[in-house]
């Protein structure tokens, strides 16, 4: 695949700027991130980019998607070519106000169709599944920690630290528990029990801090998307909060009845992002959210109104500094001969380029250095111009 930089970009919306048309000034390595926040939302299960952001301007779409296109009548358009899925109302509003953009026909270097392997590659940043053991978000934290007086807080809103966030840099995690909360009295006694323990003491302190930040979240799990978004915001908006956050969302593997199943998952994502945005309050101005999935789905709906494992999908970037209101894509087309292996939306933009470029610009790191550290061994350049300087 060629780099994203030297390609024609199909743009929509107010800011007519291509992926490669902005040359960001080279920034000094490891400049302090200040109070900038980055939330990475991983859609596990292969979210359908063509449903998320339908290429309604492509003459081939009708034959592939048929009746489901009725959903996009009256949907928010980005330019004349793309329509945002109606369930993504908050996202569409953010795009219209210039705070969200989509990247379409994007994929990682992975070209097979296993969720596990694809997620492994997307999370580790390796070029082959299981070839790298730590995660790119952890390496991002490590990069930001270099020369910093204290390590930043990185937090997964998840029961176990996801692979993307695992590694040498210190990270924490928190998830609402289905278990009945322990009594306050027991918690206090555990504090005394661990007070003189060099390992458990500090861990328990972090646990109680995170628990206090989350307060009584009232959740049994992370399935109430709006509450999960509020929870993430509550853990990230304050000066002492997490600078890097990660959330995982499932329910995207829409092999059947996609029209219904996708809408339900998209409503969840939209509620999460909307709640997160409003929960961040003033800190939204310094916040970047990147939403990505391991691969896309077949261009053509199958016999049960679903779609099967595919290749390219769409990614979403939102935030107070995003040069939004547009779509970055080198649109590959939907004619049979234009589909990847005759079945999938063809990948024309590197997802790794987006992740590295967006993270580097937002956190004020050298994009090439970020690319080399987070996604080593690739020849593509990081995408520039995602975030206002």
């Amino acid at each position: 695949m060629k780099t994203a930089l030297d390609r024609r970009s199909l743009l929509a919306g107010s800011l007519m700027l291509g992926a490669g048309s902005l040359a960001l000034p080279r920034l000094a390595f490891a400049q302090v991130a200040g109070s900038r926040n980055l939330l990475f939302v991983l859609l596990r299960g292969a979210a359908d980019g063509m449903a998320m952001l339908a290429p309604v301007g492509d003459p081939g779409l009708e034959a592939l998607r048929g009746a489901s296109l009725a959903d996009y009548e009256g949907a928010t358009r980005l330019g004349s070519f793309f329509a945002v899925h109606p369930a993504l109302a908050e996202v569409a509003a953010a795009a219209q106000s210039g705070e969200a953009l989509f990247v379409h026909a994007a994929a990682t270097a992975y070209r097979e169709r296993s969720h596990f392997d694809a997620q492994n590659l997307l999370e580790t940043g390796g070029t082959a599944p299981y070839s790298v053991k730590d995660g790119w978000l952890n390496r991002l934290a490590a990069l930001l920690n270099e020369g910093a007086p204290a390590p930043l807080r990185a937090l997964a809103i998840a029961q176990a630290v996801p692979l993307a966030l695992r590694g040498d840099a210190p990270v924490s995690n928190y998830a609402p528990s289905a278990l009945p909360a322990a009594s306050e009295d027991l918690l206090a006694r555990v504090s005394q029990l661990y007070a003189s323990d060099g390992e458990l003491g500090p861990l328990w302190e972090r646990a109680l801090e995170t628990k206090a930040m989350a307060q009584d979240d009232g959740l049994r799990n992370l399935r109430d998307a709006s509450a999960a978004g509020e929870l993430a915001a509550s853990l990230m908006r304050d000066a002492g909060g997490a600078r890097i956050g990660m959330i995982e969302l499932g329910g995207w593997d829409t092999h059947a009845n996609q029209r219904f199943a996708f809408a339900r998952s998209a409503r969840g994502l939209d509620a999460l992002l909307g709640a997160y945005k409003s929960g961040m309050g003033a800190a939204w101005a310094d916040t970047l959210v990147v939403v990505a999935t391991e691969f896309g789905r077949t261009a053509r709906l199958n016999g049960t109104g679903g779609s099967d494992h595919g290749t390219a999908s769409a990614a979403l970037v939102m935030g107070g500094r995003v040069r939004g209101g547009r779509v970055i894509a080198d649109w590959p087309g939907l004619a049979d001969r234009q589909l990847f292996e005759g079945r999938d939306l063809a990948p024309t933009t590197s997802l790794e380029s987006l992740l590295a470029g967006a993270a580097a610009e937002h956190m004020r790191l050298d994009p090439d250095l970020a690319m080399a550290r987070l996604f080593p061994g690739r020849s593509v350049k990081p995408i520039a111009g995602i975030v206002r300087a």
Binding site: Y130, N173, A182, L193, Y194, L200, T210, T304, D308
Partner: protein, 486 residues
Amino acid sequence: MSRPSIALSRFGYGPAAGEHPPADPRRYLLVQLDAYDPAPSAIAGRMRSRGETGEMVELVRSLRQDRRAAMADTESAMSAQSATSEDPRAAALEGLPPEYRSKLAEARQVLVGDIAARTQLAVSSPTPMIERLVHFWSNHFSVSVGKLGTQFEVGPHEFTAIRPHVRGRFSDMLKAAVLHPAMLLYLDQFQSIGPNAPFAQRRARRGGDQPERPRGHNENLAREVLELHTLGVDGGYTQADVTELARALTGWTVPGIGRVGRFAEDQPSGAAFVALVHEPGARRVLGRSYPAGEAGQARAILDDLARHPATARHIATKFARHFAGDTPPPALVARLEADFLKSGGDLASLTRTLIDAPEVWTPGPVKFRTPFEWLIGALRLTGTAQLPPQRVVGALTQLGQLPWRAPSPAGYDDIAASWAGPDALVRRVEMAERIAANIPADDVLARAEAAFPGALGDATRTQLQRAESGSQALALLLVSPEMMRR
């Protein structure tokens, strides 16, 4: 930690309720090697033939072909996560044909039962150290539910490919574990086809090249055998070795699958071998030649891999890490490596060498207990018998370590960094309070002294004495530093 406490907790799953500390810790461990029951009745009842796997795979394939229904994604919809009481993906199954849904429900029930049986065995075991070995080796040869049909096979993989061999030869365990249906499914081997095999040639002649059908060999299992199961990632193998092993493995599949199924010869592991899809010819792996030999070819290569010096080093390192610390003492690794080479991979000998190694008996705790180790320890200590299967699965899900659900073929991590997290501590405290609330909790301090002979710290003793109730004291004991580490 005292020697009796090390024998109980570092080597095993901690004492059972009322169990007295061993007077002779070393002997207490050695006799377990003889007393161990590889096939207890609790799992024997679960070992009926499971023809369901091939049936399920074929069912999904026909659905896919018909386009009547898409495959409900096998990697998510059928996961063990959805076996918990609140099934988040039930809605995803809407619209699927009833025969598929009932198969799915059956698969889920089998898996939940197998997880509960494994847990119960460890909780009530009189040979907890050997149960630890079972779980160590099971994790070394990790299989994970998710891929099609694996729910029926992951339990039997441990019960039949691991359990009988923990005191036997590594080469036997290697062959049983790698050539088991669970592994063949998990690492995509079951549909790997030799490009020059009669079946592939015939298909090519007919020109019926269907894109949905596998068209060649798959290297997934071969790579993991070399990288994870035997030599280790730095074990000195090349891509050519991976490819050659992958070719040798073609033909190994699961009974009842595909058009070639009727040509399958059943194998002792529960797998099947189909000569029609096996890549013909001799193979060359790590500089050694293997003549054409159908099912025996892969076995011969595995036998040689099992006694390779890099394998000895790799196994010794993991074994030492599991018992003696995240960064295992080099002297212990060397001792185990030498034993492995000398004995030809005799795992009873390896275990005895471990028991006799001074490095494993260092006083300080050397490991953070994984969620599974902690739960088994807590259930043993409190004498909590016979939890309903669904609750066992729920508890392990909440604690974050469901058996046979590791995120990668490398298995669950065996280092504190992966488990000693803030959220994990909170969950253990919540779980401890719940466990303690349901059982009589008298004289907790005395029970603590017995459970951690000569190893109970002052901080824990003080907090147990100050507790406002017996059950609170018990909850505190369950999350005490002594319980969190071994």
